[in-house]
Amino acid sequence: MKTQNINIEKEIATEIQNTFHTAEVNIKRNKRIEVKLRNDLIPPFLSYAKNYLTFNHLAHFSCVDWIEQNEFELVYIIYSYEKGVIVLAKTRIDREKAEFVTTRHLWYQAETYERELHEMFGINFKGNDRLNEFILEDWEGIPPYRRDFDTVKYATDNFYTRPGREDAKDVRENVTKINKEEIPEFAKEYSVRSLK
């Protein structure tokens, strides 16, 4: 698959680059173009891609929580049936003041995606008046898909777990006990068993 020529991708990439000079465009592989944009350029870019480059299918709209950088990455995955190419348009927005503009006027179904991201990440899409309860019901607290929401803790705090399994032992600990081995503090996090 990798040996196929990527001429059409190159053409599209050049065209995007020529129109949006600040965009960071790279061809990930055949049929995949990644475009990184400043967040205020996303609406014009999407509109341009849809109307001039025939990217009329919003395949997916996703959000990635980069909590370390205090940013959300919004990823619009748009597809052109005509060209058979997918563009991943990415931008970063501030995590604290999570706000963006809606793209509902371009694609009607973007409303659903925006409702989900609003609910799961707490991103407010300006211009979308239907950011109501979607999947969750009576949810209190931070939006659950944010990485600082601890689902394990929430589940143990709120739900009852059946008792009877308290006698479980950790193998590594058990072995250290047999050995009378003392694992220093700094080494403990390197125990594979924690799967961190």
Binding site: R162, R172, I183, A187, Y190, L195
Partner: protein, 596 residues
């Protein structure tokens, strides 16, 4: 709309089916057997299982607990725990089966369990369903998730090796080390066999994660001679690695070697290890013998604020790892780096100071509150055959020492080595490097040789001839009392009626003569306790040449501690290191308790 006549009539075609035999599975009157691969309840072969707990770790549902089983007899290399499955969590994905290193865990064709009691869904596979043995369906086929093959170690070619004393093992490169480290399951069962209980899964995981510095830091937590062990350890840990049941164990030794070798000099070691050195506490400890045990004790005592003085008879520290192990296994600069690091954090070594000759034992006793003896076995056993004193008949231990001192020893072109331990192999391989043809005579079979199999293979690669079941009878000398030949007899193995290992018995008349220029004896050594004053010797409990010590390596004389070959039977570096490490705890306990 027009009448769709065809559409009205054609469904009546279904009436054709009326007479057909129904395909209904008439459960429960007739049962359909589940498929051969069906993923039903777990079954665990309790005897095969070693309780490594990988099933419990891999389970994304936290459905598997490791629990103690009453009445379970646990051998070595077993954590003593067994899995219990919570069927109120399990999804029968069989990741646990596919990641079981021993292959003891499998899924069965049984899936039926209905109950009113939600608390009755815990299952101890193999114990609650012993009949599952015959119902196994999804079994670990060895090609599932785990890699049973280790990354092979690159070595110099046998022909190339004998040309010099260059290090034979080339070591892993970074990629190889990461891949090999990633194989580890982190169960930690291996640590049971390590006398000092190094934190093996932790440092291997650090290597897998790309954090070599952390690996070094973890290694130095209880072994200050990690690099030495990385090169020459007898690695009993690998014998009980969870992978050994079905494949090759993790290359624990080579990974340790890789991690410690990434550190170039003693300054960097200090930076990485960053040891917390307690302020001087005013107590003083003497260490006799700068072997691995003595150095270890000195290092950890110095870190705890003791004033430590190491007395070493020779001109270089390291004991057997300096003088006994040939340089193609442990190069001098590697050893120097490690010893310089120890000295840099406050270990003082007095070289060329033989206790009993240059300084009396009583004097040491007067200056220090506790004494640790780690003098090792330096006196070789005699072969006990005629002609042993001839010129050209030498002892391996002396031979290796002089070679390691870079002295020249004339051995001629035909050498025979007597013995089957690591020392014998070392002597043989060194002799090959000096250009001689070498034959090893060993009393028993090759598989009985106490030497490491890798060493034996290495020797064979280098062209050493191993002659098993050969018992030397006499060294034949010429008129100048120089070795001319050796007479030996072939032996047969007689099974031991008591169930012990078979004994060799000479086959009468099957005697041969081998012309040689040098005979090297390597059948073992013992300690030289002559430096100890008589009153101490009297009080000291010695059993078959070894000083009897307790868990803290304390002898029958409270202030006297001992370790290494003179106290344990392992006769390897890591055993001595463990003695030194544990003696520190004992010495600390002894001195600080005296304080109170």
């Amino acid at each position: 709309m027009a009448l769709n006549l065809k559409g009205i009539i054609s469904p009546y075609n279904a009436l054709k089916q009326a007479g057909r035999k129904p395909h209904t599975v008439q459960y429960p009157y007739k049962k359909k057997e589940a498929a051969d691969r069906y993923r039903g309840f777990h079954f665990n072969d309790i005897q095969e299982c070693i309780g490594c707990g990988t099933c419990s770790t891999i389970c994304q549902n936290h459905a598997i607990d490791m629990i103690e089983i009453e009445g379970l007899e646990v051998g070595p290399g077993d954590s003593g725990l067994r899995p219990r499955v919570d069927n109120g969590r399990c999804c029968w994905c069989a990741l646990c089966v596919d990641s079981c290193p021993t292959g003891s865990l499998s899924l069965t064709k049984d899936y039926l369990y209905v109950s009113e009691d939600p608390n009755s869904f815990l299952l101890i596979p193999g114990i609650d369903n012993p009949d599952g043995q015959n119902r196994k369906s999804w079994i670990s086929n060895g090609n599932s998730l785990l890699d049973y093959k280790r990354i092979p170690m690159r070595e110099l070619e046998g022909q190339e090796r004998v040309k010099s004393f260059a290090e034979v093992v080339l070591g892993y490169n970074e990629e190889e080390a990461r891949t090999e480290a990633a194989r580890c399951l982190g169960c930690g069962i291996c640590t049971e066999n390590c006398p000092v209980h190094m934190h093996i899964p932790e440092y291997i995981n650090a290597i897998a994660r790309g954090d070599d510095k952390m690996a070094v830091k973890i290694i130095y937590d209880n072994n200050p001679l990690g690099e030495t062990c990385g090169k020459v350890c007898t690695r009993r840990c690998e014998e009980i690695c969870a992978f050994t049941k079905r494949g090759e164990p993790i290359a624990i030794r080579w990974l340790k070697r890789y991690a410690t070798e990434t550190v170039e000099n003693e300054k960097m070691i200090e930076e990485i290890v960053n040891p917390t050195i307690l302020p001087p506490n005013g107590h003083s400890v003497a260490i006799i013998g700068a072997g691995p045990g003595g150095l270890t004790a000195a290092y950890y005592l110095a870190m705890r604020g003791f004033n430590v003085m190491v007395y070493e008879a020779k001109e270089h520290a390291g004991g057997m790892i300096m003088y006994g192990i040939p340089k193609y296994r442990l190069p001098l600069d590697s050893l120097d780096k490690q010893i310089e690091y120890l000295q840099s954090i406050g270990v003082e070594i007095k070289f060329n100071t033989k206790v009993g000759k240059d300084i009396s034992f009583d004097e040491i006793r007067q200056h220090h509150e506790a004494v640790y003896i780690g003098i090792g076995f330096e006196v070789p056993y005699k072969l006990g055959i005629t002609g042993e004193d001839a010129s050209g008949s030498i002892q391996a231990i002396n031979f290796l020492r002089e070679i390691n001192r870079e002295k020249h020893i004339e051995i001629g072109d035909k050498v025979v080595v007597i013995g089957g331990g690591n020392v014998a192999i070392d002597a043989a391989r060194v002799s090959r490097r000096l250009g001689a043809e070498v034959t090893i005579l060993y009393r028993r079979r090759v598989e009985d040789m106490p030497a490491d199999w890798e060493e034996i293979e290495g020797a064979e690669d280098e062209g050493v001839i191993i002659h098993p079941q050969a018992i030397p009878l006499e060294i034949i000398t010429d008129e100048n009392n120089k070795v001319k030949a050796i007479k030996y007899a072939n032996a047969e193995m007689i099974p031991d009626p008591k169930g012990g290992r078979p004994r060799p018995k000479i086959i009468e008349g099957d005697e041969h003569i081998l012309e040689v220029t040098t005979v090297i004896g390597a059948i073992g050594q013992e300690a030289d306790y002559s430096f100890l004053p008589d009153d101490i010797k009297e009080k000291l409990e010695i059993n078959r040449g070894r000083i009897v010590v307790n868990e803290d390596r304390q002898t029958s004389i409270p202030w006297l501690f001992a370790g290494g070959d003179i106290a344990n039977r392992r006769a390897d570096a890591i055993g001595a290191i463990a003695d030194g490490f544990n003696a520190v705890k004992g010495i600390e306990k002894f001195i600080l308790k005296e304080d109170k």
